[in-house]
């Protein structure tokens, strides 16, 4: 398989996962804000930070209201990581490699891109926005499903999955970082009902609430959610699940160089060796930072091993 095509498929996997995660984030944040009393509202600014856009967003001196933030995340020309741009990237990376995939996948991707281009202009009303994002998540799942059901599980498929799991693990750490870090002001007494709501929103943004309840019978609390989203090896959006999947995928790829595998092992060690009980605030932020850096190292190792700069 040509390295260039492997790289394109890897990025397609990443971008499509990113689009889905962005849609999840926006919808869940909207719900969360409806559930919280106005004084405790999470606002929209955290989404700017989760997506790593704080500097760019601030540079334009915008107000971090719902309209501005959502517009920025969905379709702003100044944001190269907007949902619109992400869909375009997912499609562009699929183009040259499309002959390796079932034809339906290209058609679905193209349809999704066209739909996004039509809808993501100007201001979507809140109701239409919610519906659009819900559909988008399902569309992304449909593509994943078509690949799973119709594509030979060859290296082309492996690279899509590697992109997908790296992106997903990264996004889970970002959500935990921002949500766990500053949504919980220490000086307000008797937070628990709202704390619970906030952690529930974290779970819901990852469609993890139901699964969590089945694994953890206790009421939703920070430590358990952290453990579930970081270390559970059955829930497909937990970091550990992604790492296990990556490990198996990478082991199956050709080559003598094992730097990518070593990077994954390091990540697993980091996850397993950190005490999660009571972890919040700055220490939690530091752990997430560390995971993100190690995920970036993994990306670099994958790149150098299978698609060194063309």
């Amino acid at each position: 398989m040509l390295s260039r095509l492997a790289e394109n498929l890897y990025w397609h996997g990443r971008y499509l996962e990113r689009a889905e995660d962005l849609a999840r984030l926006i919808n869940v944040n909207a719900h969360l804000n409806l559930d919280l009393p106005s004084g405790l509202s999470a606002g929209w600014e955290p989404l700017v930070r989760i997506t790593g856009n704080a500097a760019r967003f601030k540079a334009e001196e915008r107000e971090a209201g719902e309209r501005q933030v959502v517009r920025f995340l969905l379709s702003d020309e100044a944001n190269s990581g907007s949902l619109k741009a992400t869909l375009e990237n997912a499609r562009e990376n699929l183009r040259s490699a499309r002959d390796l995939l079932p034809r339906e996948v290209w058609e679905q991707m193209n349809g999704l891109y066209i739909k996004g281009n039509e809808q993501l202009t100007g201001n979507l009303s809140k109701r239409r926005r919610h519906e659009f994002l819900r559909e988008l998540i399902l569309d992304c799942q449909q593509i994943a499903g078509t690949l799973l059901g119709c594509m030979s599980q060859d290296h082309a498929y492996d690279f899509i999955l590697i992109g997908r799991y790296l992106e997903r693990a990264d996004m889970t750490t970002r959500i935990l970082e921002v949500r766990g870090y500053d949504l919980l002001p220490d000086d307000i007494e008797n937070l628990s009902p709202y704390e619970s709501i906030q952690w529930m929103s974290v779970l819901k943004s990852l469609t993890g609430y139901q699964m969590y309840r089945r694994h953890v019978r206790l009421r939703v609390n920070g430590s358990d959610v952290l453990r579930f989203l970081l270390r559970n090896d059955q829930f497909p959006r937990s970091v550990m699940f992604c790492l296990r999947a990556l490990e198996a995928l990478i082991e199956g790829l050709p080559g003598e160089d094992d730097q990518a595998l070593r990077a994954i092992t390091r990540l697993q060690r980091t996850l397993n060796e950190t005490k999660l009980v009571g972890l919040r605030g700055e220490p939690l932020g530091k752990l997430m930072d560390k995971l993100q850096i190690e995920l970036a190292d993994t990306h670099e190792a994958v790149r150098q091993t299978w698609f060194p700069s063309l």
Binding site: M1, L2, S3, R4, S96, D99, G255
Partner: protein, 480 residues
């Protein structure tokens, strides 16, 4: 379908003879088309559109919003040629390509053709497609143009002429293949027991031709198609041919030439050797070390690898020296010189503007002639005399005087027509034909080729970039 209003006039029509009766090879088709009523016809037309969509869907969806290219309109009435006539044309094409390859090989080596006074040396110095980088080298089998697409036209008398040769990277064969697929889907009954010669083995023939060029004939050759990338207007064809041959479609950045002049492609398992490259990138962009240094599409070192015999390039760099429109006018002499034979297919009479007498003659008759620049393709930069304004002719006279070597002139041919679906029925439209000739260990000519049709009434320009469409081409055996 109603042919009662179909008038052939003074022109040669490919399906209908002077008396309004069908030609022998087209009789079955004509009877069938006449039997279709308006409803059936429109049903077939929409079936045709659907089939074309399905066959070409990759193409359409792919380019749907980028405006890089469009699907070529397809007309469902095929163009028919009798097998017996086609065999003559086939022999003529083989003769022509053989002579052209000998000519190219000679130009880059001994230049006997110049020393013997057959071909003027000045023409070579003025040739935009002569590559100094190819001097003193002869590729395997002495073949330079492995894939040739020559355009054929027929005049009012019914004589077939070669209008031009395309020896660099002729395109359009994928349309020939797809058109046949669509026709077979929409008119299956026409193909039963009809004597229509198949075209479908082109991809295997192309693969065999390419494989026969491998510098390591003992091994299973590693063949690739080299594309400038997906924004190229012919990308669909590049991808299609690679897929049909079962070989990798690569871009320049996928290939690397090492210090031993070996060519490799970069894969996830490391570097894998490449033996034969069907390149669809122009000479200029092929290798920044040898040609344009700013090319990002090419592969640094590819010319080294080619010259040291480590890799075969099809077509060979520099092959375009012989498809220059001025060289074209010498082709009959070239055939006589190398093969000692008379050309089997004629050239269109051509006036060379670098000759002062001919130039004066041409400039006097610009309103009757077609003037073409030597190195343009796709119908660009042409003057069609009878359709031109006085001002255009004046400007063209100046262009010719400024660079006479760059221009030739030909009489305006009354191109043959073929019945074509037009708004409100069926009408005659001008067509040409591009057969493809493959030269390797063996020589192969497609059964027919790509028929292009000028969809505007009276228009003589069939190029897809100028609003032309295409038709299926049937070579029909009437002697069975």
């Amino acid at each position: 379908m109603d042919f009662s209003d179909y008038t052939v006039g003074e022109l040669h029509d490919e399906l209908i003879g002077k008396g309004g009766r069908p030609r022998a090879a087209a009789r079955a088709l004509w009877k069938y088309l006449k039997s279709l009523d308006a409803d059936e016809l429109s049903e077939r037309r929409s079936a045709c559109e659907v089939a074309a969509m399905v066959a070409g869907i990759t193409f359409r969806v792919y380019f749907e919003d980028t405006g890089v290219d469009r699907a070529m309109p397809f007309d469902l009435i095929p163009r028919v040629i009798a097998l017996r006539e086609w065999q003559q044309i086939e022999a003529g094409l083989k003769q022509r390509v053989r002579a052209l390859n000998l000519f190219i090989d000679d130009l880059y080596n001994d230049q006997r053709v110049i020393k013997d006074g057959v071909f003027p040396a000045e023409l070579l110095t003025g040739s935009a497609n002569f590559r100094e980088q190819c001097r003193g080298f002869s590729p395997p089998l002495g073949i330079w143009a492995h894939i040739c697409g020559s355009d054929l036209v027929r005049d009012a008398e019914g004589t077939m002429y070669v209008l031009e040769d395309n020896l660099r990277i002729p395109s359009g064969v994928s349309y020939m293949l797809e058109n046949r697929q669509v026709m077979k889907r929409v008119f299956p009954e026409l193909f039963e027991d009809s004597g229509i010669q198949p075209v479908d083995d082109y991809a295997s023939q192309l693969y065999d031709t390419l494989a026969s060029l491998s510098p390591r004939p003992a091994d299973y050759p590693s063949v690739v198609v080299l594309t400038p990338g997906m924004y190229n207007s012919a990308y669909f064809e590049h991808a299609y041919l690679a897929q049909q041959m079962g070989v990798q479609l690569v871009e320049g950045r996928d290939l690397v030439v090492d210090e031993n002049d070996e060519v490799y492609m970069r894969t996830i398992s490391g570097l894998e050797p490449v033996n034969v490259i069907y390149r669809r990138i122009d000479d200029d962009f092929l290798d920044p070390e040898a040609f344009r240094a700013d090319s990002l599409l090419g592969v640094p070192g590819l010319m080294r690898a080619w010259r040291s015999g480590k890799v075969a390039l099809a077509n060979a760099p520099g092959a375009g020296v012989a498809d220059d429109k001025v060289v074209y006018s010498w082709v009959p002499d070239i055939i006589r010189y190398y093969l000692g034979e008379e050309p089997l297919i004629k050239n269109v009479p051509t006036y060379r503007c670098e000759d002062p007498d001919q130039r004066a003659w041409v400039i006097e008759r610009l309103d009757e002639l077609v003037v073409k620049p030597a190195n343009e393709s796709g119908g660009y930069g042409m003057l069609i005399g009878p359709r031109s304004t006085k001002r255009e002719r004046k400007e063209f006279a100046k262009l010719i005087e400024a660079d006479p070597r760059n221009y030739i002139a030909q009489p305006t041919l009354a191109l043959s027509t073929c019945p074509t679906i037009v708004p409100g029925g069926v009408g005659p439209r001008h067509i040409d034909l591009r057969p493809f000739v493959l030269s390797g260990q063996d020589t192969y000519v497609t059964n027919g080729g790509l028929t292009r049709v000028a969809l505007k009434a009276g228009s003589l320009v069939v190029n897809s970039s100028q609003g032309g469409g295409s038709k299926d081409t049937w070579i029909v055996d009437t002697d069975r």
